[in-house]
């Protein structure tokens, strides 16, 4: 922490290195000092506490994938993590690194928003919690200051009667996706939609929460028709994809619509099964 505060702005934190080292190998990034967190053993825990799971910033993506309490309490996260890159990358890449890197096409940032996670930043003298929805400020930009590191992630258990779905389309397995969505549907005791959430990756300059679209579902039943109108609304009005070499913006919107329909259906069905 002392090193980071002395060299704020020039020094970089090295976590898994799966984004930082490629950038350094290309000389896109040339930090004057690297502070390696790989030997900070206290930062790589995953544990349940009350109604949340606490994850240290240095927990590897691979550990999230195989953690039994995540599988049980936060099945959305469990199901989504294998979509991140390849096993060789997940063996080294960390949850904290992916979150701070804040790539709009990455899975973990949008999952943190979908799951209402809180992120703990720390500098030499203080700590603070930041809600995931306020953390991602833009492409590769977060609310962390240059003298702060992310130390811990707090993710609430998914509520009862909640169904989930994660869907993405990538050019090849393990590549960054052209479009992806995380869906959560919570039903009330009568089987009506209590709340729903749709968060997208690669659909803007950070995770995109289609809150106005999901608002349309509250209090109603999820039917073929209501799902379709939400998918149309979200894909036409709420996301703002930029297009890339693999997909035009029109194609990205089309993918968003189709994935939203499938994901909402799966989430609603799973929520029904857990009644």
């Amino acid at each position: 922490m002392d090193l980071l505060s002395q060299h704020a702005g020039e020094a970089k934190i090295l976590a898994g290195g799966q984004s930082l080292v490629p950038a350094m190998n290309f000389r896109v990034v040339q930090p004057s000092l690297l502070i390696d967190l790989n030997r900070v053993a206290e930062l790589s825990f995953i544990r349940e506490e009350g109604n949340v799971i606490r994850v240290g910033a240095m927990a590897r993506e691979r550990h999230l994938e195989f953690d039994a309490s995540i599988e049980k309490r936060i099945p959305l996260l469990h199901e989504a993590v294998p979509n991140i890159a390849h096993p060789q990358i997940r063996n080294r890449g960390t949850i904290g690194g992916s979150i701070v890197h804040a790539d709009p096409a990455a899975e973990l940032p949008m999952l943190m928003v979908a799951l209402n996670a809180r992120l703990k930043g720390k500098n030499k003298s203080a700590e603070r919690w930041i809600d995931a929805k306020d953390f991602f400020e833009g492409m590769f930009t977060t609310a962390l200051e240059s003298d702060e590191i992310l130390v811990e992630i707090e993710i609430p258990f998914m509520p009862p009667r909640t169904g989930w779905s994660f869907m993405e389309v990538a050019p090849r397995s393990g590549d960054y996706a052209m479009m992806g969505v995380a869906a959560l549907v919570t039903l009330d005791k009568e089987g009506k939609c209590n709340s729903a959430k749709l968060v997208y990756l690669n659909a803007g300059d950070g995770p995109v929460d289609a809150a106005a679209s999901t608002q349309m579902l509250a209090g109603g039943t999820l039917s073929e028709k209501s799902i379709e109108s939400v998918a149309v609304h979200a894909s036409e009005n709420e996301i703002n994809p930029f297009g890339n070499i693999h997909a035009s913006t029109d194609f990205q919107r089309h993918l968003a619509k189709v994935l939203t329909q499938k994901a909402l259906k799966q989430a609603a069905q799973r929520a029904g099964e857990s009644q």
């Binding site: 898994g16 290195g17 799966q18 080292v21 490629p22 190998n25 290309f26 690297l34 390696d36 790989n38 691979r62 890159a85 390849h86 096993p87 060789q88 990358i89 063996n91 080294r92 090849r172 397995s173 393990g174």
Partner: protein
Amino acid sequence: MTQVTLTVNETQYTRDVEPRMLLSDFLRHELGLTGTHVGCEHGVCGACTILFDGESMRSCLIFAVQADGHSVTTVEGLAPDKDNLHPLQQSFWEAHGLQCGYCTPGILMTMIPFLRDNPNPTEDEIRHALSGNLCRCTGYQHIVDAVKLASEKMREK
């Protein structure tokens, strides 16, 4: 210069290295273990895959100094002796799992932990596990066959 001590293929080495040196360059240039190939240096091609404490990782995305105190296995560490191949290597030979061989070490070092965790994989699982390794020659089919054959040989053992 920083001193590092690490175990590579069960032999301990101590060397002074520049902090900026990649583990892939360290293995090739400092230790002369040129079986670990370097294709892209940005984590995409998989040619540099090694085992780091038993798990597959990109040696081009790890600095040599970070390997201090750790154990690394490269393709040179697979064969039991000069005259015999590891069953995985033998299967690549028998099923024509390579042409130029550039991608092969990285694929072998990816498949070792994969077959350890999935001793009887389906073709689909094999293809999925191969997705982080690029091969420009074979079209992958023979690689899939070779891994399948290896899983049979290794289960017999």
